[in-house]
């Protein structure tokens, strides 16, 4: 592996090695570019991972303190940890159930399709589905997505049988085990799933695509990747022309370095990327980088995510097998007759006993709770992910009252539910509960949202500089040579799990950056 000099001005410096940053690093290395990949966390491998809810959470997660405000329930239940992503090589692709769905055409035209919704700051994406489709195809091929490219579906597990028969009895029709970057059969050097039920705990078996087990090793094989772990970026630098040209970071030993860059790419997930921009104030950019129109950190999205857990007379054993191997797509369309904008997907959801107990309804105690949790083996789970409305006040800011170990203000995450969000939540709960009841549930528990892993929109992509932070190629409108390749660049959230779109956008951005770098 090469070590580029701190003053090497030829390298692309990427901050974050997850779905966006890890994929982009490999794509650029394959095109012959020099890449410095800064990852705040350690380089763990399958050998390090454990089949254990809490031990894996503590091993993989970004646990630095944050603060939360707003009327969302998370501010009460998880005030120090309102969002969930990872701090390891591979980023949040190490904690991932492999769901890989494409945006629908109308979701990329959210403002045009949904119209003027009071309180919502909707815009259209500056790219269309037809422009994205070739990149979706490349992403699905590299990730080995089930039910694409001739690959078989994941086999149905116990929890799916419950979902299937409930949905069928309700007359729903778009029911399948879904699309996952998890091998049902061996593919691309990775084995088939053994249904161990721990794909979100790092995935010891390696049946699931991640940047840790696919993109980064392939980038290393090119001899172009300089991966630096334990490297915590704290500031982005620019030259006299106002163009990004370096990154200040602190290494694992606590030493501060300045790495010069030809191009800087942020891929630190939806909280850390805007936090870095806001923390990189200069005389020229007094509100932080790329923030001339004040959009950095705003329009934060987390999807309408919630789970229903239901108890049946007979055993389900939902913990056996791939956790999210099921999809009902009947509500994915935008249907104004439902009384709200946007759609949602219903997906299978299973958790181990430790996290089921913790997230079912934080704060719940007494006999009612213990009666429910004692029936864990008879419990089935389903989840919804739907489009939430962007609002300018839903945002990441610097909480100047508390500095982290690196002297950077901690992030505050503010989120108020939009009326459209609540209407969709209500509709979704009734649908999820209805499906389980149709399958014979004797009790359904409508669980509240837990800290989001679908974090989107806080550096959004826009056609016009005054509407967002980055352009159609993910380059900031204001600061040349500064790019964003994580979910924060989404112009709107869509309904589906975001990873496939992050990967597709990363491949697309690699084409653009390679052209820029060779110019």
């Amino acid at each position: 592996m090469p070590t580029y000099a701190f003053n090497d001005s030829d390298a692309v410096v990427i901050i974050g090695s997850g779905a966006g940053g890890g994929t982009l690093a490999n794509e650029l290395c394959q095109r012959g570019l020099k890449v410095v990949l800064l990852e705040a966390g350690p380089h763990l491998t399958a050998e390090d991972f454990v089949n254990d809810d809490w031990a894996a959470y503590e091993m993989l997660s970004w646990l630095d303190r944050r603060s939360a405000s707003g009327n969302w329930r998370i501010a009460k239940d998880f005030p120090d940890a309102p969002s969930w992503h990872c701090k390891v090589v591979g980023g949040t692709t190490t904690h991932w159930s492999g769901c890989t769905y494409r945006f629908q055409d109308h979701e990329l035209k959210a403002r045009s399709t949904y119209g003027d919704i009071p309180g919502a700051s909707l815009i259209d994406w500056p790219i269309s589905l037809s422009e994205l489709e070739p990149y979706y195809e490349r992403a699905e091929a590299k990730m080995g997505v089930s039910r694409t490219n001739g690959l078989p579906a994941l086999p149905a597990n116990n929890n799916f049988k419950v979902m299937y028969w409930g949905a069928k009895r309700l007359g729903l029709s778009k029911i399948s085990t879904g699309n996952h970057a998890i091998n049902a059969v061996p593919y691309d050097g990775r084995p088939a799933s053994i249904q161990d039920g721990f794909s979100v705990s790092g995935d010891k078996h390696g049946a699931r695509w991640s940047t840790l087990n696919v993109e980064i090793p392939r980038a290393e094989a090119t001899g172009k990747l300089d991966l630096r772990t334990g490297a915590r970026a704290i500031q982005i630098l620019h030259n006299e022309a106002g163009e990004a040209n370096g990154v200040v970071y602190v290494d694992a030993a606590g030493t501060t370095h300045k790495q010069t860059a030809k191009i800087v790419v942020l891929a630190g997930n939806c909280i850390e990327s805007p936090r870095l921009l806001l923390n990189s104030k200069t005389g020229r950019y007094p509100n932080g980088l790329a923030n001339g129109y004040g959009h950095v950190g705003r329009h934060y999205l987390r999807h309408i995510i919630q789970t229903v857990w239901s108890i049946f007379d007979q055993p389900v054993n939902m913990h056996r097998g791939e956790l999210m191997g099921g999809l009902v797509a009947d509500f994915a369309e935008h249907d104004p007759a439902r009384g709200f904008a946007g759609g949602y997907y219903i997906e299978l959801n299973a958790m181990g006993l430790p996290t089921t107990a913790a997230f079912m309804n934080p704060g719940w105690w007494g006999y009612d709770f213990t009666n429910v949790i004692e029936q864990y083996a008879h419990m089935a789970g389903m989840f919804m992910t739907g489009e939430d409305m962007p609002q300018p006040g839903n945002r990441v800011t610097l909480n100047e009252s508390e500095l982290d170990a690196f002297g950077v203000p901690i992030a505050n995450l503010h989120y108020d539910d939009h009326p459209n969000d609540l209407l969709m939540r209500n509709h979704g709960y009734k649908t999820l509960t209805g499906i389980h009841q149709a399958a014979g549930a004797k009790r359904c528990i409508e669980a509240p949202a837990y800290p989001a892993s679908h974090n989107l929109g806080s550096n959004r992509m826009s056609a016009k500089p005054e509407d967002g932070v980055v352009d159609r190629n993910g380059e900031t409108h204001e600061v040349k040579n500064l790019f964003i390749v994580d979910g924060s660049a989404f112009a709107s959230g869509g309904a589906c799990n975001p990873t496939l779109t992050i990967v597709a956008l990363a491949i697309r951005q690699a084409d653009f950056i390679a052209t820029r770098a060779s110019a």
Partner: protein, 177 residues
Amino acid sequence: MEIFSIVTRSITKNGVTAHKDPKLPPLPHVSDGPDWTNILNLFNPEQATLLVATVQTLYPHRGVAPTVYRRVVVNFDKLASQTPSAARLSLAFCDKLSAASPVSFTELAETYRISALKTIETTPEFIFVQRMSVRYLYDDLEIWASFGYEGASYHLGGYIKRGFDDLNWLPPLPNDL
């Protein structure tokens, strides 16, 4: 003091065997007798007994041995010994709960225990102890087996040959999914 002395990585209850990942520490050994508090670093015997009674009142499970609840408090003690904020919250909880009724909490009937806990339910100390009770109680291998959670599976070949699709109380699925 050696806490992790017994190698227990699988437990069977009612025909269900629960497994802890082989890389993780086994269950701590906790004595059945009143001397169990000797292994604690931070809590004195009164505080430890109060915390056990608290976890039993918050999360009552018939048939779950007192040792399981004691293990939760051993984990509390370990956390509080390492984290000053956890120590502060745990000790303040004990003071607040002790002050919540004229009779010692551990001497109260269950209905009065519940009332006493409800009087402090919105305090940060209660929220901390309640969340940590869930965190540790439902992470206990004996609880896993009792409630049918089999736990770690990779070292056993996953569930692909161990029942991931054995549900048979619904009709078979169609073949054209």
